[in-house]
Assembly symmetry: C2
Homo-oligomer: 301 residues x 2
């Protein structure tokens, strides 16, 4: 097991212009690990409630995802209910029930202490820091965060940022974190806080990597229809870290490839509700879309 993910497991209820889904499996650790499982062995640290059945666990096990670190405790699993209107760019939260996630304290099973790559999904930065400190032998760790922590726990966030190699962050959140509107300057300021590489996710506009040596931009794969954007960011992270862990190559050129795999996987995620499309992929489809990304961006010098 080379890649470990810490984050949430949730039941999502989603309404988009293309339909709705009730209490389907979601959460950052779920989207991340299912996606990364197409690239490399992956293990999850998360918490679920008593309503999390063997059938739900089977989704992970069918993808050979290690769930020894998924703690089942008394209470109900985290639930989120949201809606996307016309342009599907913005989720409108209708209901959040943290349930067992409220008192989540990540515990790292001994077997995972050998992990080389770590994804710290969007949980409290204090918890992220504890996990990061428990794993001293990492090759690379990547962190996701959100406005809630940037505004509410800036000091804890600064501490964990100083320990990670890679930050994956939304465009708006990068601006909030750096207090800088210009993205290039925002990324430069964030790199001074710790990460060697900052990947700024820009939704339908793709992603930009401010790497140790250079800047790289990948577009989003153009789709006829976006059915459900839920989990696209964690899916991007899953493709990015999945490829990075599979290759164990932190070069500038390979960080670029990782961003493209992130974009590729994100484009699959939004083609169906929840995990739908991510569960019925083939390696051939992934490679084929990667080549399409090449053709989408190629021009002669």
């Amino acid at each position: 097991m080379s890649l470990l993910a810490v984050g949430s497991i949730a039941f999502d209820s989603i309404r988009t212009p293309y339909g709705e889904a009730e209490e389907i499996l979601g959460g950052s650790a779920t989207f991340f690990s299912v996606t990364a499982s197409w690239f490399t062995p992956v293990a999850v640290v998360a918490v679920v409630g008593e309503d999390f059945s063997d059938q739900h666990f089977r989704v992970f096990h069918d993808r050979a995802i290690d769930t020894v670190g998924v703690e089942k405790v008394a209470g109900r699993t985290f639930r989120w209910k949201g809606e996307y209107l016309g342009d599907l760019n913005q989720a409108h939260t209708l209901d959040t029930q943290l349930n067992v996630f409220q008192s989540f304290v990540p515990k790292i099973p001994a077997a995972y202490l050998r992990a080389q790559f770590l994804f710290l999904g969007n949980i409290g930065p204090d918890l992220q820091l504890n996990v990061r400190r428990a794993l001293p032998n990492l090759r690379a760790s990547a962190l996701d965060t959100m406005n809630y922590w940037i505004q509410g726990m800036p000091e804890d966030l600064a501490k964990v940022l100083a320990t990670v190699e890679i930050l994956l962050i939304n465009e708006g959140e990068a601006r909030m974190l750096s207090r800088e509107h210009n993205l290039k300057r925002a990324a430069e300021k964030i790199k001074k806080l710790g990460p060697r590489a900052v990947v700024i996710k820009r939704g339908e506009y793709g992603a930009t990597l401010f790497g140790p040596e250079s800047i790289f931009t990948a577009p989003a794969y153009p789709l006829d229809q976006v059915h459900d954007p839920t989990g696209a960011g964690d899916t991007f992270a899953g493709g990015f870290m999945g490829h990075l862990a599979r290759t164990a190559d932190l070069s500038d050129a390979n960080l670029r490839r990782s961003v493209v795999y992130g974009s590729v996987m994100g484009s699959f995620a939004v083609e169906d509700f929840g995990l739908g499309r991510l569960l019925r992929l083939t390696p051939g489809e992934i490679e084929s879309r990667y080549r399409e990304m090449k053709s989408l961006t190629h021009f002669d010098a």
Copy 2:
């Protein structure tokens, strides 16, 4: 003279967070022709007032731009006053004085009838159609338009769209014209109206070409600071059509290169107020930034 541009010449007064400028030379035909002049001989059809001095004409002549088609008539030159706030994405118009532009009727000098490439800047679609019809021997024509004409003169716009090879259009206007939010479907619908290629300009997110054979996306060149976005769209068009006219090659591969030159020139435009940066370029700077665009988007397959 291989490239002809029809559009506006104006005096712009601009305020941005980085400073202000009073009555500086602007307008779609101005930005377009100054930019295209770095690639190919270019001529302009436009109208100015009695306040348009020899000194103003000299800006064009210093770039070897043919102004035989710039008519000087009684009255004042078109004036626009605008302001950009925090994010510089949206111009807020403070004042528009159409003046002599109000009754502009483009007249094509006989020498221009041999033009092979045409840019129809953002003027009334009825006027654009008359110009297009006067030039039966074009290799390619490109059209720009805006919300005002999409909503106000849809039938005239449909007529001129049916006659042009290329549409250059903003993201929001592409959605308005096609009544389709998804950009891929929007471009497909627009191509059914006439153009073989639709270039959708996305500001700081770059541009996407929906070409005859494929889709191509180029990012915007990442800048530390955007000083003044005025004219960036027409500058993009100038780089795009300038390279296309210089090479007279309408292949898919060359349309891609044209988009990159459009992005390159747009990135220079916004580095200073008005024409400032576009007038003090060198061919070496243009080629160097083109290569940087390659490095910005390159990844190994």
